[in-house]
Amino acid sequence: MKEKKKGSPGKKKKRGFLSKLKMNKELLILSAPGAVWFLLFAYLPLFGILVAFKQYRLSGNFFESLISSKFVGLDNFKFLFSSGDAWTILRNTVLYNAAFIILGVVLPVIVALLLNELRNKGMTKVYQSSMFLPYFLSWVVVSYCVYAFLNPEKGYFNSIIQQFGGDGISWYTEKGLWPFIIIIMSQWKGIGYNTVVYLASICGINKTYYEAAVIDGATKWQQMKYITLPLLKPVITILLIMAVGGIFKSDFGLFYQLPRDSGPLYPVTNVLDTYIFRALQTNGEIGMSSAAALFQSVVGFIMIMGANKLVSKIDEENALF
């Protein structure tokens, strides 16, 4: 029904459109349930974006309030840049995400390849399952566990250091260490999850390719280089494009719970999401929170479009659209 609306102008075009509809009938029906879902759960709520441009005040129900609230243009966005730290925060967000995007591809691909080549298949299962475990622990629980190691007074690490005559490190104020801790912990938590896609992709590769390669006398290394990796390329590319869209978003718990919200670490742990969280604690303006989310989305959108354009220039087949 929705598509019909699209093709209104021009009789000729309409007929073309109708026959197109007819020809794709079966596939259209396959798309329909998903499309309805997106309409209801993703598109209907989009009107909420308007709040970002309003100084939202209540009068009656949501729509009445939305309409009667004062239009404030871009005022709600100002707080994102008003602090003296805006630059540090953006830098942190982008740099961490860049690291996560790169490592989030490289490490899982390596692990997937390793797992795939093991001679003892039984162990593959064991390794893979254990690597999945961290995913199940919330950052709050992880932060408690990490604190048991890093606690400056009673932690395991400092006891070891002191046993060897060292002084002990004040872990939660030493900001030089945290970029590493954060990157390591994020990869530690995500590696099991991220590996799955690549493992499944490898698994889906047609076995005849390898058989042919073996007959031609290709080594394992050559098989990986000329068969596995090229065939993983579509998945890697698509995941990269989507990851780039999240460049301004971050995992809140990783940057808030894990460092125990320690002030001296802010120069290396304050990212956009933690900044927004703290900022909105004081005034609860929903216009500002919408504005912040919209800002993150718009930047993400630009990034994705850019990345997609780049990819489609090089290799159209693997682009998002």
């Binding site: 598509e3 197109k20 794709n24 079966e26 596939l27 259209l28 396959l30 798309s31 349930p33 998903g34 997106f38 209801l40 759960f41 598109y43 209907l44 709520p45 989009l46 009107f47 909420g48 974006i49 709040v51 949501f62 080549e117 093991l118 001679r119 593959t124 299962k125 064991v126 390794y127 254990s130 475990l133 961290p134 199940f136 622990l137 919330s138 709050v140 629980v141 992880v142 408690y144 566990c145 048991a148 009673k154 590696i191 099991g192 999850y193 799955v196 896609v197 499944a200 698994c203 889906g204 390898y210 998945v235 698509i238 989507m242 869209g245 919209l294 989305s297 959108f301 994705i304 998002l320």
Partner: protein
């Protein structure tokens, strides 16, 4: 009958042996294997530690935990936390039930929605491919926010306090659709589709009888993602479920975590009232015990998905 059965089995074994021998030619060298195993062992070890730690803490005596903090070898062990859970019983078992129901129904529904949508997108000949791809790209980034979602789900779709509020919002997302589309694109050769079409197969038959079996690793991956998403979800429960009978397990846990956190951070404002409220909260060991019992079932469910994407375990399924 049993005789022929035995024969069959022997035959199977023989084939397997041959297969294994054949495979031997294409295996990595033994020393390399040792190296790979070593690397993976180290990685697995670090992944296991915190979970083992959580189990140990759940088995630590409450007082000993307060005195000594988190220790790998506690001064005193105790089963108290699990006793508490068994006694609190009812609500936790019910929540278990809710979580399992939501996860199973949601995963199946999600697989259907994602599978059909992504398959259509993966078809080169589909005239509306680009339109429907654009349809899912926008929501990948833009969302109306918490308040608009709440309004749609409670006021338009009337799902407040309904189990569907836990299922429907998570059934689909753009990320999964696109990953699934890529799986279809890479694992289903065009030739298969074309020859089926020439044979006069309808899209339905093509999809359900030919494509699905070939895309099992991909479907298992998305199925796993959906399962995990449902299992770990608490946000929708917090937003849309007031009825205590429909609270999933994960929200029970998160509620405790966030309450403890809140009470600890607002002591100055709440004064002694905060301390009193905190005294009524379940203790640390119980929290960890809930982490353990909420994670175990999913760990056991994991191998079910795993066999579809760990090579060597699924030769049969993929070769078909």
């Amino acid at each position: 009958m049993s005789k022929s059965r035995r024969q069959e089995r022997a035959e199977e074994k023989r084939i397997k042996k041959i297969e294994a021998k054949e495979c031997e030619y294409n295996l990595i060298k033994k020393p390399t294997n040792v190296l790979f195993n070593a690397i993976l062992t180290v990685l697995s070890f670090f992944s296991l530690i915190p979970f083992v730690f959580v189990i140990i803490i759940s088995l630590t005596d409450e007082e000993s935990l307060a005195m000594n903090g988190y220790r790998f070898i506690p001064k005193k062990w105790s089963l108290h936390a699990y006793q508490y859970i068994v006694e609190a019983g009812e609500s936790i078992i019910r929540s278990y039930g809710v979580t399992i129901f939501v996860t199973v129904v949601g995963t199946l529904l999600g697989l259907f929605l994602i599978g059909t949508y992504a398959y259509a997108l993966s078809r080169k000949t589909y005239a509306f491919k680009s339109f429907f791809t654009k349809v899912i790209t926008i929501p990948m980034l833009f969302s109306g926010g918490m308040i608009a979602n709440y309004l749609i789900i409670t006021k338009v779709l009337m799902l407040k306090d309904s189990v569907w509020a836990l299922i429907l919002p998570l059934a689909m997302n753009s990320f999964n659709v696109i990953v699934m589309r890529t799986f279809f694109k890479t694992s289903i050769p065009d030739s298969v589709v074309e020859s089926a079409k020439i044979d006069g197969a309808s899209e339905w038959r093509l999809f359900f009888q030919i494509v699905i079996p070939m895309a099992l690793p991909g479907l298992a991956t998305i199925g796993l993602f959906l399962t995990l998403g449902y299992w770990n979800d608490w946000f929708n429960a917090m937003m849309y479920i007031d009825n205590q009978d429909w609270i999933p397990l994960q929200y029970l846990l998160i509620k405790i975590e966030s309450s403890i956190d809140f009470l600890a951070n607002n002591k100055a404002m709440m004064g002694v009232e905060g301390i009193q409220a905190a005294a009524n909260m379940p203790k640390e060991t119980i929290k960890m015990a809930i982490v353990v019992i909420s994670t175990l079932p999913i760990i056991f469910a994991y191998p079910f998905f795993q066999r579809y994407f760990v090579n060597g375990l699924t030769i049969g399924a993929v070769k078909e």
